[in-house]
Amino acid sequence: MASFKGNRFLAMLLERARHSWMFVAFFIGFFLFWEYSIVWFDIPRYILTPPSVVIEKGAADLDRLLYYTYVTGLETTLGYAVAVILALPLGLAIAFSSILKRTIYPFIVCIEMVPKIAFAPLFISWLGFGLLPKVIIVFLVCFFPIVLNAILAFNSLSEELTMFTRSTGSGVWRTFFKVRLPAALPQCFVGFKYAAINATVGAAIAEFIGSDEGLGFYIQIVTGNMRPDLAFAGIFFLTLLGMCLFGMVTLAERLLIPWHISIRRAK
C-alpha cells in the first residue's frame, strides 16, 4: 500500500515536471544569461553584477538585510491588516445601505482615481521618518481594492438565492452567515490578493521617499554607493516579503473557501 502511494506521488511529480519543465528551463536560462552576459558584453560591475556575486555579497550583509526585511515586513503587515479590518466592514455597510451607497461610495470611487503613493511625501513631512507614515501609505494602497471588491462581493448575490432565503423566512443574520457571507468570499479574496501584491510596493516607495531603515531605504542607499549587487539582494528580500504575504492570503483562501479553488481548478 505504501509503495502504491509512493508511486502515485512519484507519478504526480513527473506529471508536474512534464508540464513545467519549459518554465524551469527558461528560468535557469535567464539566470545563466544574466551571469555570463556581463562577461560577454563587458558590463562594468558598478552597473550590473552577476547573480553569483549578488548571492555572495548579499550573504555577507545578511544581518542588515534580515533586519530591514523585518522592518519593511512590519510596515507592510500592519498597513495591510488595518486595511482589511477597516475596509471589510465599510464595504459591507456600503453594500447594504442605500444612503452610504449614494454618499461614501462615489467619494471612494473618486479617491480611488488618486495615486495613493503621491501622498507619501506629505505623510512623511507630517509624521516624520518613523513607522507610522509607512503604515498609513501601505494602508492607503490596500484599502481601496479591498473596499471596492467587498462592495461588489456583497451586492452580487443572485436574484434566485435572495428569493430562496426570503421564502424560508430566515432572519437577516442567519441569511448573512449561511448564504451572503460565503457567497461573497471569493470576490472579497480578489481584493485581498490585489492588495497583497501592492502592499510591499507601497512600503518600498514610502521608504524611498523618507526613512532611515527598511529594504526601500537599503536599496536606495546601496544604489547611491554604486553597489548594484546589494541592491539586487535587497530586491530579492523585498520580493520574498511580497511572496510571503501573497502566499499567506492564498493559504487563507484555500482554508476558507476550498470549494472555490476546486471549482476554479475543475475549469
Partner: protein, 255 residues
C-alpha cells in the same frame, strides 16, 4: 374561501410610463388542492412572473392571489419552490444544500437525516449526497435542487421549468420520478414548462398562456389515468391533447 390556490384579476406591469411592460394578465383561475397544474406558454409570456407572485416574492400590480384560504401578501414560507436557475450553493454538498433549507428555517437537520436519505433515494441520488454541485451533471443538479425544495415537506410546490435545460432522455427519467412522488404525497403542484408533451403527461390540468401580455387562452383538463407511462403517451387520446394544444399556439404564430 376555498382551499387550493385562487387567482382573481391578477395583473403585472413592470416599470412605469412609456417604458412599462405589460407582462401578464388579467388572470383568473383556481387550482384545486392536491392537483398538478402546468403553466404552459412560450418564453416571455409571464410564467415565472405568475409563479413568483404566487410565492409572494413579487407583488402583482393589481388583483389578488389566495392560497389555502389566506391572501398572499408577502413571501410564503409554507411552500416549496424550484427557481428557474437552481439555488444550490457551490460551497455545500448535495446533503448540505438540502440541509440549508432546514437551517434557514431554524429546523433541526439532525432529526431529519433519515428523511433526507429517503428523499435522496426517491430521486436516485443517495450515492451523490456528499458531492458538490459542480461535480454533478445537469440532471443530477436538478434532482438535488428538487430535494432542496421539498425537504421541509411543503403542501404546495412551485416548480419553474425544472427540466428546461436538460436533454430529452434525462427529462423522461425525472418526469417519471416526479410523477410517482406527486402520486404518493399529493401536494398541490404548479409546474411551469414550455413543453406541450411534458405538461400533458404530468398534469391534471394544463393552463395555456398566450404570448405577452400573457393571458389564459384555455384550461385543458387531462382525463388520462395516472401513472402516465409510455403506453399512455402513445395513446390516441394523448395525441389528441397534444394536437389541441398545438392548435392554440399555431393560431398565435408561436409554432
Amino acid at each position: 374561501m376555498s382551499p387550493g390556490i385562487t387567482f382573481s384579476e391578477v395583473k403585472k406591469v413592470f416599470g412605469e410610463g412609456a417604458s412599462s411592460v405589460h407582462a401578464l394578465g388579467p388572470v383568473d383561475f383556481h387550482i384545486e388542492e392536491g392537483s398538478f397544474v402546468s403553466l404552459l406558454g412560450p418564453s416571455g409570456c409571464g410564467k415565472s412572473t405568475l409563479m413568483l407572485m404566487t410565492a409572494g416574492l413579487l407583488k402583482q400590480s393589481s388583483g389578488t392571489i389566495s392560497m389555502g384560504g389566506g391572501e398572499v401578501i408577502g413571501p410564503r414560507t409554507d411552500i416549496g419552490i424550484m427557481f428557474q436557475d437552481n439555488t444550490l450553493v457551490p460551497w455545500r454538498t448535495v446533503r448540505g444544500n438540502i440541509e440549508l433549507q432546514l437551517e434557514l428555517r431554524g429546523l433541526s437537520t439532525h432529526e431529519r437525516r433519515d428523511d433526507i436519505h429517503r428523499l435522496l433515494r426517491s430521486v436516485h441520488m443517495e450515492d451523490f449526497a456528499d458531492r458538490h454541485p459542480y461535480e454533478l451533471s445537469g440532471g443530477m443538479q436538478q434532482r438535488a435542487a428538487f430535494c432542496q425544495a421539498m425537504v421541509h415537506e411543503p403542501k404546495t410546490m412551485l416548480l419553474d421549468e425544472p427540466l428546461g435545460k436538460l436533454d430529452a432522455m434525462t427529462r423522461e427519467g425525472i418526469r417519471r420520478d416526479l410523477q410517482s412522488l406527486w402520486m404518493q404525497e399529493k401536494p398541490t403542484v404548479i409546474f411551469v414548462t414550455h413543453s406541450i408533451e411534458e405538461a400533458i403527461q404530468l398534469s391534471n390540468r394544463v393552463v395555456v398562456i398566450t404570448p405577452r401580455p400573457g393571458i389564459i387562452e384555455k384550461i385543458i383538463n387531462i382525463d388520462l389515468p395516472f401513472p402516465r407511462d409510455f403506453d399512455v403517451k402513445n395513446s390516441p387520446e394523448f395525441a389528441a391533447y397534444v394536437r389541441e394544444t398545438q392548435e392554440i399556439f399555431r393560431s398565435y404564430g408561436v409554432i
